[in-house]
């Protein structure tokens, strides 16, 4: 007897985990990109 509730839980949680984790990664890439850019700007200003 298949446990359909478990199967649906695996599917919903699985797809959500894939999308959420990759969406957080996208956000993280943008955030550390901006932080690095600002750090580089500050370093250039100081050097100037």
């Amino acid at each position: 007897m298949v446990e359909w509730s478990l199967a649906i839980k695996i599917c919903v949680f699985g797809l959500s985990a894939v999308f959420v984790s990759l969406a957080i990664l996208i956000a993280s890439i943008y955030v550390f990109g901006v932080i690095l850019k600002n750090l580089e700007k500050n370093t250039t200003k100081k050097a100037g």
Binding site: V2, E3, L6, A7, K9, I10, C11, F13, G14, L15, A17, V18, F19, V20, S21, L22, A23, I24, L25, I26, S28, I29, Y30, F32, G33, L36
Partner: protein, 368 residues
């Protein structure tokens, strides 16, 4: 004299053994003559041949040589994570960091995993077996093996061979689906050139990724930790020896043991079952739907995005690095020879590897 004859393998041969020998010869032929995944199919084929030689007891629990490779290499979860270390050391996440929204295509292409998961349940497989079959859709051999060893070890031979077979058949399976789901105009879409990615960004990426993914899906940690460690070796630039070893010698060594261990699980009594045909069938369903989902998601993004994505790069979200990205390039170039999609497709391609590991982590966490 009769006793002596009875101790030989020849008199203990079964029809099943002979069929498995033919399968072994086929794999070795495909590897050598057709160049289909030769690094895997040669040791797998030889492992199949060896384990189907009667009375050799190579897979006898506790004693057999191949059982020891299987037990300590696969059951102890050693080999797939080491392969991931090597993959990390070979992977360039630059194209993905340069255009992060392509990451979502790697997520979309995991949909086929769940379609095959339900398909397998409808065909009568239980949930752990269905998880092992569904993950074939990720087109990632080590992840498929890692998941199957945990959840349905009796299906290991079938799922591993299905995963590697479909990976080598990417150039045959994907293009018809890609042409069916896209228009000529869509295939001609040219994407903006990718910006250069700094070394600092490439070093931060594996650190952030391992934290994000393992905090959300802890069961994916063995693969993700090793994947990102390998990538950090590559990108930090100060451990070239470790990076080279992980990407070359170490990966080659474990590939030998991976192949022969997988082949060794394919004894006649294990493999010659109707359910193996269903595993291959569902693997193909998973793979085809994953390809389609990646393309359709790219088309959906185009409805809202200012800068259009060529939907052909969506199919690369199935992993199968770098073969799937190359297929995107080839199909794109057929529509417009001046369109270079390869680097754009590498983004979803490597994102697909991460997506498959997350999907496997959920299967391991909930499906066991």
């Amino acid at each position: 004299m009769i006793d002596l004859i009875l101790t030989t393998g020849a008199v203990n041969l079964t029809v099943g053994n002979i069929i498995m020998w033919l399968i072994a010869f086929l794999f070795i032929y495909l590897a050598i003559e057709k160049n289909y995944e030769p690094l895997l199919l040669v040791p797998i084929g030889f492992g199949i041949l060896a384990v189907n030689l009667p009375l050799t007891f190579l897979m006898e629990e506790g004693h057999g040589l191949l059982w020891k490779f299987y037990h300590y290499g696969l059951e102890w979860e050693v080999i797939p994570p080491i392969i991931f270390l090597g993959l990390g050391a070979l992977t360039d996440f630059g194209p993905m960091i340069s255009n992060p929204k392509t990451l979502i295509l790697g997520a979309g292409a995991q949909s086929g995993v769940y379609i095959a998961f339900f398909g397998a349940i409808l065909l009568g497989f239980d949930i752990p077996e269905a998880c092992s079959i569904g993950i074939i859709g990720g087109a990632d051999g080590p992840t498929t093996i890692f998941t199957t060893v945990h959840l349905a070890p009796h299906l290991l031979g079938a799922t591993a061979v299905a995963a590697y077979s479909y990976m080598s058949l990417v150039p045959i399976i994907q293009p018809p689906i890609m042409r069916l789901l896209t228009t000529e105009a869509e295939r001609k879409i040219k994407m903006k050139q990718l910006r250069p990615v700094s070394r600092k960004e490439k070093i931060i990426f594996p650190l952030v990724t391992v934290m994000v993914i393992c905090l959300i899906v802890p069961a994916s940690a063995p693969l993700m930790v090793m994947f990102m460690l390998g990538n950090l070796f590559k990108e930090c630039g100060v451990v070239k020896r470790l990076s080279d070893t992980a990407a070359n010698e170490l990966m080659n060594i474990v590939t030998i043991f991976l192949g022969i261990s997988v082949g060794a699980t394919m004894s006649a009594e294990n493999f010659l079952k109707p359910q193996v045909i269903f595993v291959f069938l569902m693997g193909l369903v998973a793979f085809s739907f994953s390809t389609a989902a990646g393309i359709l998601l790219a088309k959906l993004i185009n409805l809202f995005a200012k800068e259009k994505i060529n939907p052909l790069i969506g199919s690369a979200g199935v992993s199968a690095v770098p073969m799937a990205a190359r297929v995107s390039q080839v199909v794109g170039a057929q529509a417009d020879p001046k369109n270079f999609l390869l680097m754009h497709a590498m983004g979803p391609n490597v994102a697909g590897v991460i997506g498959t590991v997350v999907a496997a982590g959920v299967f391991l966490g909930l499906g066991g």
